[in-house]
């Protein structure tokens, strides 16, 4: 049988089983992969101007803490996520404002300003950042992120530009 050039009955069955099985596997398997990774392919990216506080309340040289929450619809549930940071006023000009994100660049814990240490300290792995957000000590790979865009409203309130991940 095996030395003939024609496909034997046995081999035909084997090949057909393989093809049909492969097809069924692909028809169920490929959509399953898509099904599993679907949430990772979603685009967020909603943009908003978020008020963080009155400009007159921010004092030169003292980081001004702020926080805000954003509600996102995840699946069948609305989830509130918290964000925060520090505004550091440098002069009378509202342009001259450094707004740091308090999310540690190491593994995303929240850093806090310590007036004693004159640094932003991270409780998780002893990271320290100076008032400009630069790394002083510890494992972080880079300086604290900044909210690059901000504006002053007519009511004297500072708003930052926020884009969801």
């Amino acid at each position: 049988m095996s030395d003939s050039h024609e496909l034997s009955r046995r081999d035909f069955i084997k090949v057909t089983t393989g093809i049909v099985g492969g097809l069924i596997g692909a028809i169920i398997g490929l959509p399953s992969v898509y099904y599993l990774i679907d949430p990772a392919l979603r685009e967020g990216g909603k943009e908003a101007w978020i008020p963080i506080g009155k400009f007159e309340d921010m004092q030169v040289g003292t980081p001004y803490p702020f926080s805000f929450t954003r509600v996102q619809v995840n699946g069948w549930e609305r989830t509130a996520s918290s964000f925060g940071g520090y505004a550091i006023r440098k002069s009378d000009s509202p342009e001259d404002l450094l707004i740091l994100n308090s999310r540690c660049t190491h593994l995303a814990c929240t850093v806090n300003w310590s007036a004693e240490a004159e640094a932003f300290l991270c409780p998780c792995h002893d990271a320290a950042f100076d008032i400009e957000g630069e790394v002083l000590d510890g494992p972080p790979p880079r300086a604290l992120d900044v909210y690059a865009e901000h504006r002053l409203t007519e009511d004297g309130i500072i708003e930052i530009f926020f884009k969801e991940a």
Binding site: I28, S32, Y34, Y35, L36, D38, L41, G75, W76, E77
Partner: protein, 219 residues
């Protein structure tokens, strides 16, 4: 290199023996009705896989069960396909297992030395029905709610221990979050574990005894 890996594995596992015992067994001359056992096994595996995928998004809580299923059907890519296969596969599995059982009965394949295979097969049929019963509640819609109300009420009519059975099934006197949670646990852990174990024994016995001949006129 692949050849070496294959040889290393083959020496320890024995692919040839596996192939001979599992796929190249001598078969009596029979017909397509004798493939229903394999069809049942295939459906079990399919239900297992799609079920595992469904648990990625499903939530067994009265607040969110229905919403999470709506999300699977409308929000997730191919969610409708995965749930559709699980939904229709469930009905098909009950049907195929039952017809498989009828075939065994009509060809008298349950006789010596295969009585144990038959008894375990009964267990398999009952656990399959159990899967259907517990899975039916999980969407937590009107049909699911009332079907389970009625089903557990029927179980409650057993003399003397009925009320206990009803409370044990529902996790209390009435349908509640506890009912949904324990039906979910039964549906994805307890009954599948029993089912898988019984299938293992069933398959072992089939491989040990081989398939029965179809009865002839003299039988």
């Amino acid at each position: 290199m692949w050849k070496n890996i294959y040889l290393w594995l083959d020496e320890r596992i024995g692919f040839n023996d596996l192939y001979k015992n599992l796929l190249d067994r001598p078969e009596p001359k029979t017909n397509w009705w004798n493939t229903l056992g394999s069809a049942s096994l295939f459906l079990f595996i399919l239900q297992g896989l799609t079920g595992i995928f469904l648990t990625v998004y499903y939530t067994p809580s009265p607040d969110h069960a229905y919403d999470s299923i709506t999300y699977i059907m409308e929000g997730v890519a191919f969610g409708w396909l995965i749930r559709g296969i699980h939904h229709w596969g469930a009905t098909l599995m009950v049907l195929v297992v039952f017809i498989h059982m009828l075939r065994v009965f009509y060809t008298a394949s349950f006789k010596y030395p295969r009585e144990l295979t038959w008894l375990i097969g009964i267990g398999l049929f009952l656990t399959t029905l159990g899967m259907g019963f517990t899975g039916y509640l999980l969407p937590w819609n009107q049909k699911a709610y009332w079907a389970t109300t009625v089903g557990t009420q029927i179980a409650g009519t057993v003399p003397f221990v009925g009320e206990f059975i009803l409370k044990a099934l529902r996790g209390g006197p009435e349908l509640s979050a506890l009912t949904l949670q324990r039906f979910f646990a039964a549906h994805i852990w307890i009954i599948p574990a029993v089912l898988a174990a019984l299938i293992g024994i069933h398959l072992y016995l089939i491989i040990k005894h081989g398939e029965s001949h179809s009865p002839t006129k003299e039988d």
